[in-house]
Amino acid sequence: MPNVRVTINGVEAAVPANMTVLEAAQAAGIEIPTLCDHPAIEPIGACRICLVEIEKQRTLQPACTFPVFEGMVAHTHSEKAVEARRFILDLLFSERNHFCMFCQMSESCTLQDLAYEYELDHWKFHRPMPKFSVDASREYFVMDHNRCILCRRCIRICDELVGNGTLGLKNRGADSMVTADMDVPFGESSCISCGSCLQVCPTGALADRASAYMGATAEIDRIKTRCMACPVGCGTELIVRENRVIRVEGDWDAEPNHGLLCEIGRFVPLHEHRDRVREPMVRSNGEWNAVEMDEALAMVNEKLREAGDDVATIVSGFVTVEEGTLLAQSPGAKYLMHPIASEQSSATQADLDVADLFVVVNTDLTDDFQVAGMFIKRGVRQRGARLLLISDAAEGDAPEGDAADGMSEWAMRRLGTAEANEAVAIAGGAQMPVFVAGPEGAKLATELAGQVANAKALIFTPGGNSRGLYEAGFQQAFEGQDAAVYHVVAGEISRIAPELLEQLKQAGTVIVTTSYRQPWDEVADLILPMPTTFEKAGTTVNADGMVCEVVAGVETRAIPFNEMFNSLAALAQ
């Protein structure tokens, strides 16, 4: 891209010709206020707050959409531009309910920040006070249309990055409203509760139920860490106040998610209703009693000594590499709680953003590995990539509820496993086909990919750190093998295969190291406490083999896992 010479506020710069005025100004270190613009999504120039004066242009121009040109001379804070911004703010404030004193986003609001910056001490215009509805039909966050400024950030991120396309706009002019699907309540819509819209809302229109009024921008800390709920391995930011995580946001700078999260990563940990395990507990005569750590470890040691090598250690994907490495030293067999695909990935998740054909085999990416599903959905919606779904059940008239259902709206075709060869034929004509599967479809996906030149396969093994734990020595999936003593190291896992619980129920001695009591109190004899991902430091390895840092956002009273394990090891000496 050739450079053009521009002058912004007297600063001369050579910038690529495809830049907007806003980008050029930012590159030159000049700040222009924005409101509807967001770095992660395409600019549309809706709010006009970024208006700047450009010489030889008849009117003020929005910096976020206006392209630079050779010899451009712009003034971002001329009297005319600043006056226009005040006028625009006045209009924005006059339109709906923008009273800060009863807004949960006060002190964390871009609109309010701008009003302070431009010193609005009153509103000039008459306020029509329209009465819009508040949509509280979603579990985790609320939409108050009265606080909406129609910047459309929510609509755009849902469409451009999440690829879900749930949101749209209805009506015209001042009556415009953000709406879901064909104007249904958000809770009844195709919304997948990923909360990406919530993360980009610049006002109090979208408000998180868990963190409303809990901490303003100046009162919170942001800690970058990793989600360990699945192998996508999204970068997260913990929003922490007074040693409490009040909210989780996607980390814009992190691979592979770049700000996106799914319901499981963003909301589920904040809406945890299970009982926290704070101290060791022992079951005697069907009753659970708290015991001292020393006593509990002595009991564990006794059980392990009796069992000798007849021990099975079963770890969930919430166990870090460091914890796994310690556990790998324990006697007996080592198992991963999750099914393991024996096939290897030849693709990374970044490939999903360049692939022109996705073939998803026996896996529902709207249920598992959801953010990877978003990469595919947006590829279909934004880049015209095609999606084929292959599932066991899709042959002939596909029944409801099979693995292919979740993404069927994005798919060009659904195929049964018997028709899988058709996918090979279609993939043969594609530039860059990627076959995607979890353990159930891994074998077929890898086979099919092997038949197509250029094709890559992306294989997910459930469990956030499964890949790291595999390398640490947990190379076998637990499938009901017999042992005298089972030690389950669970972390905060909540999605547990019923078969596993059934098998443990039949087993002899079951020790569970877990953050939460349920459902383990149904099967365990002894429960040991464990910090959650929010509370521990370590590393995890995602599906791409990327080693990611887990950073503790809060301090916990729970004894660190390594200390507990080392005390146990010392007893065994």
Binding site: F99, C100, H122, M129, K131
Partner: protein, 181 residues
């Protein structure tokens, strides 16, 4: 130097703005060396004198005909009118009722909440001020010279505005002096 004269009054309000005025603590004594407070809701004299005052301060929103009268009287009798607090400046928290029908609000408040006595009815005496369909800011009713938002405005901001006026300067709310809640 003659003292400047000051009257304050309140409209639809929680009285927090006047609390903030008192929160000036010992600064109040210093300011009262230059300012003579002629009337306020927290002094014996409630109404600004007919002879007028230099500065009038109104807190609270205009929700009914009585409050409009109070606002107009203050405007008529003061030289400089300051609208103080979010309710006076923007309408504030009182505007929450603007999102509902007035009758709905009345019947909810007087007959439906958990704390209303049984048989309670909406009071309809002609002596009671009539609620307007929507709550308004002071600026919607009379001309305002200075706006001093905040819920409530911090004491030091009130002190700043009065000190500037005493010194014959224009108060200008910037940065930390400007707050909406």
């Amino acid at each position: 130097m003659a003292k400047i004269t000051l009257s304050t009054d309140w409209l639809d309000v929680c009285s927090g703005c006047h609390m903030s005025l008192l929160d000036m603590d010992e600064l109040l004594i210093e300011i009262l060396e230059h300012v003579q407070l002629l009337s306020s809701p927290i002094t014996d004299l409630k109404h600004p004198p007919e002879s007028g005052v230099d500065v009038g301060i109104l807190t609270g929103a205009v929700s009914n005909d009585h409050q409009e009268e109070v606002a107009r009287r203050m405007r008529d009798r003061c030289g400089i009118l300051i609208s103080m607090g979010d309710c006076a400046v923007f309408g504030g928290i009182c505007t929450m009722r603007n999102f509902f029908d007035t009758e709905e609000v009345l019947s909810y408040a007087y007959t439906e909440t958990d704390s209303t006595a049984p048989e309670q009815e909406v009071p309809r005496s002609p002596e009671i001020a009539k609620l307007y369909p929507t709550v308004k800011s002071v600026r919607d009713i009379v001309k305002v010279d200075y706006h001093l938002p905040g819920c409530p405005p911090p004491a030091h901001v009130i002190a700043y505005v009065l000190t500037e006026l005493v010194a014959g300067r224009e108060p200008k709310l910037t940065e930390d002096l400007l707050t909406y809640d």
